[in-house]
Symmetry: C2
Subunit: 636 residues, 2 copies
């Protein structure tokens, strides 16, 4: 078991007709917008106060802490995104502002390395007493990720060194032979792994592995912690060990349980550590958990978490569309997990889901102007019900400018600016292309320039400039749904049957200075059915084309629940030349509207009036005002 090497961002230049505009939007709009939010300069949105907290903790101004106990992490994720953005597009001004924030962070750090504005300002006497609720390790993990990213992006190590001091402070406190402790919200493991990669210091890998292995060894850990203190923060139930995945040692966990973001962050760390330490047992646990999520507990959009109650997984095949949680952060975490699994076993089963989450459940988290965000990504919305009535109150029908718990918006910023890292991995004898991302990739074995018409067309050209004299493989992931795959190597057709394995097309040779690989496949509209165990999708179909899930909105189609899609007539593509959806492929779906008695109940069967429905990519829903939305539509 050998973990593939990730490709660093400075080896990557994204030049993609779909993703470059998204990254520009993040850099031009989202990152500056979030900076203004952090400075409390945006009116009429939830107050952040995160920068003020930091300045107060640093002794630079007077004031009270405001916000969630994990408020620091919003800024950390944003800084991580800023770091990535500086690689994409250097910006002296932004870098100076980031440096200034880092200066404050360093000032807010305590002499012993401790960093957390909540405890420093409000309850210094309570440090490290409430790992269940208080997110100190969580915030530390995000700060470490940001610090590593900033170091990789700028070469400046001030933040990294500060976070090493924090990591050492943590490592000095927790361990098998020290205080036994585990985080209430996993993330420190990911932060420590980033620190390990950035510094090469094995102690951080060991500490990350400690937190993973310690988890669930004593399922009463949080209960005992609670008994030791006379205060609570959120008053969480310390016996709800499913919520934070401490119900059993992680290697024995077989189903995805509890808070879905905590879960996938942990699985990501498990997979990373398994890959780094060649730990087959830990990897096997990851495979079980992956299969449970993607085989039984995931929305078509790559959303996870079926209930608002604990923002959690529920049971196999329980996937209510109109009550979904499907937090943006959870889909982002699923992408993290998928990439780590891919790096151990390059298989389409991971890459396809990575893509599915990316183009749907993640991208839907962002308004097309980059300044509004969904926390919850439902697959059905009914204005007047969603966001209003019991059971549906969490399902807001429109994106918000900010949230009290603002984990998702800066998570989007850091994911989208680091997208290039998900496009490639490099192994000993192969390079792996996971996404048809257009751009220039300066890999160890080759310089590869990709011209991609993906995701709207199944077409990409890889211009390869080999850097070594020996043969190696270029493995290009071909989505499981792709049909009529055609691969031309320097214009000559390749027998693709013999080169396809586990969702990748492997081409081995000594690559010359200007080889060209042309990939094409049909990008047909797929009609998708859910497993018949999924109650909420019974009788329904959904549409996908390429990586996109489609949805129906009221603004195009009128009242949605009396619509049916025709089983015997095919949907067709409809290029949308103008306006908001310029460049996107929309669908025209033959269907019918059921019209029946005006009585509440009657013996009159509704009759079907033929209509043509319009479907748009799911990620783009909710950009034309509050209206009804549905992914799964009844067939007739």
């Amino acid at each position: 078991m050998k973990q593939l090497k990730k490709v660093n961002l400075n080896q990557i230049k994204v030049k993609d007709s779909f993703w470059s505009p998204v990254q520009e939007l993040v850099i031009d709009e989202m990152i500056p917008y979030q900076e203004k939010v952090f400075k409390d300069e945006i009116p009429d949105v939830e107050k952040s106060h995160v920068l003020a907290n930091l300045r107060i903790a640093a002794g630079m101004e007077q004031g009270e802490f405001y916000g969630m106990v994990f408020q620091d992490s919003d800024l950390a994720k944003w800084l991580e995104g800023v770091a990535y953005s500086l690689v994409i597009r250097p910006d002296k001004d932004l870098e100076q502002r980031a440096d200034a924030v880092i200066d404050i962070i360093e000032k807010a750090q305590q002499p012993d390395g401790y960093l957390n504005t909540y405890f420093t300002i409000k309850e210094p006497e309570h440090r490290w007493q409430n790992l269940l609720e208080c997110h100190e390790l969580y915030c530390a993990g995000h700060m470490m990720e940001a610090a590593a990213a900033y170091y990789e992006a700028t070469g400046k190590d001030k933040f990294l060194r500060a976070m090493e001091r924090m990591a050492d402070h943590i490592g000095g406190r927790f361990g098998t032979d020290k205080e036994r402790g585990i985080p209430g919200h996993q993330e420190i493991e990911l932060g420590l792994m980033r620190l390990y990669y950035a510094t090469g210091k094995e102690k951080y890998l060991k500490l990350a592995k400690y937190f993973i292995d310690e988890r669930g060894q004593n399922p009463d850990y949080f209960k005992e912690e609670r008994q030791k203190r006379d205060w609570v923060h959120f008053n969480m139930d310390p016996e709800n060990t499913f919520y934070n995945q401490s119900f059993a040692p992680v290697r024995l966990q077989e189903t995805a349980e509890g808070h879905s973001v905590r879960a996938v962050y942990m699985y990501t760390a498990m997979a990373d550590i398994a890959g780094q330490t060649d730990d087959r047992e830990l990897y096997d646990a990851c495979v079980h958990l992956w299969d449970n999520i993607t085989g039984k507990r995931m929305y078509l959009t790559g959303g996870i978490g079926s209930t608002v109650d604990g923002e959690a997984f529920t049971k196999d095949y329980d996937l209510p569309n109109d009550m979904a949680y499907a937090e943006t952060c959870a889909s982002i975490g699923l992408i993290f997990f998928a990439k780590k699994m891919l790096d151990i076993e390059p298989s389409g089963k991971y890459a396809d889901v990575l893509e599915q989450a990316l183009y749907n459940g993640v991208l839907s988290g962002m308004q097309m102007d980059g300044k509004k965000f969904f926390y919850v990504n439902p697959l059905e919305v009914n204005p007047g019900i969603s966001g209003e009535l019991f059971g549906y109150k969490h399902v807001l029908p429109k994106r918000q400018g900010w949230y009290t718990c603002a984990c998702c918006p800066p998570n989007l910023a850091r994911l989208l600016t680091s997208l290039g890292q998900y496009a490639w991995s490099e192994g000993e004898d192969a390079v792996y292309s996971h996404l048809f991302l257009g751009g220039e990739f300066d890999l160890d074995k080759a310089f590869i320039r990709v011209e991609s018409s993906y995701p709207w067309k199944g077409q990409a050209v890889y211009h390869v400039e080999g850097k070594q004299k020996s043969a190696f493989k270029i493995a290009i992931r071909i989505p499981a749904w792709a049909q009529n795959l055609n691969v031309l190597l320097n214009g000559e057709k390749i027998d693709t049957d013999s080169c396809r394995k586990d969702g990748y097309c492997y081409l081995e040779r000594v690559w010359g200075k200007s080889d060209t690989l042309e990939i094409s496949f049909d990008m047909r509209i797929r009609r998708i059915y859910a497993n018949t165990e999924v109650r909420e999708d019974a009788g329904c179909a959904a549409f996908m084309r390429g990586p996109f899930v489609y949805c129906f909105e009221g603004v195009d189609n009128g009242q949605l629940h009396s619509l049916r899609i025709s089983t015997d007539r095919k949907a067709e593509e409809s290029a949308c030349g103008e306006g908001l959806f310029k460049g996107m492929t929309l669908l025209k779906v033959p269907g019918m509207r059921m019209e029946g008695s005006r009585q509440l109940y009657s013996e009159t069967a509704p009759f079907a009036k033929p209509v043509t429905l319009t479907a748009i990519p799911y990620f783009a829903w909710g950009n034309r005002g509050v209206n009804q939305m549905k992914v799964w539509m009844l067939e007739k």
Copy 2:
């Protein structure tokens, strides 16, 4: 506008193949069981303590109050049921025990007439300060209903006089020229009307009318009440005026809002007072409210209340099956309301719904052994989800022996023992048969003996013995769904087209000493469709036969959500000769089971495997262990 006269229970002897066994079950099992619960003699069920509370308040024993602030009302409803049962089947022993309870009630009553064990035992200083939350008027209303019933059943007036003293105490306190007050939970209005009918004293009618007319005059009433006191009981939001229907004067209310039991109890009183006082405006409000409920906010089972949040109505056409509230008490209240509307305007639109609620949403509240009860009556249950997960926690998949809030079980006892009262009304020139209830009915104008094969067959014979020399009408309600109606008068066929009006078949003549009316109609299986505005029933059909709604259970059919019912093949009757369902007509429904890919999502359309489904009457569900249940099934 002239209100029809209700027929007293002592004019009625129910002898019905369906209902007599139900009444026997109530008398033999339910009433004794509930008596034991009240004495805290049933192990492993929620404790009642209601009799102990009463003895403590009466100074007969020491102890603490236990239970809800409205605990007294459980006993009141039971006593009302006991009264009715004594008419059906005299029982000296039971009557003595009831007398003994009434003696304690009288002892618990305070010298000023006040009766409420909670306040007498726990917070005598807080009497009448918290009408919003504390149910003093509600409990008083139930005690008055019980007292009137006991007087009518036994001729004993001790309880009645006691409750007159309570009514006078209330009337001395509240009124237009006294303290302005309205109940937080309507019921006192119904109790006062019963007292008015039992005593003929108009002051009780006036006081009932005061409470109705006062409601909503000052929508800030409860807010102001809250400001006057420094204590709360449940900490209800006094500004949630929809919850208790105090948001507007009742005459201006057009949609059914808030807590559904509060609502229909109030509408019942409104209709009764409108009928008694010839108040057209009040009646018109009732018609609006009726039409809104039955046209837009009622489940097929006659259940009302779409959400657990406030046990309330939500919005037009919002009728989730698996999250339904549909409280047993609310359907009982809907029957009360229907009967009062019927007595003003005998129309099938009221009688059909009365029957629909009775045979379905009410009867389902009771286990077939008479000793377990549903509070919530869902139209879909999924074990593992229902009763367990957020949103569904209130939807228990099995009936319980008792509840902390035990309003429903004794409400069933009093409704089912007084069923005869819903079967007939008497007008100036007509008698009205609302239900095809078998039995002997000693009406003012005639003695009528009904032999009924209803509800399983559309057949009933009315043997009429006229008591007066002048002509009068016998009006027999014919359900709207009845087809091929055949009416024979002394063996001769009547032209039913000319005699049918508003759901009743009117036959006018001078009735002799032994006239015979034979009614018959087809009792076919009806396939029912919901209005296409009802999201949750889209694509589905349900089955009814006669007054019964049918449902599908897992125990007969396996996993339900992958089943479809065939659009092109008819359901058939299947008499069930044996066992639990002896005598019932079950349905065999041609359908199919969808079997598809084992993947969570795939392009493989599930294929249909023909199967024959079994449907049972909805009221009988949940009598064979915990299993899946559905009323609305997808068609294919």
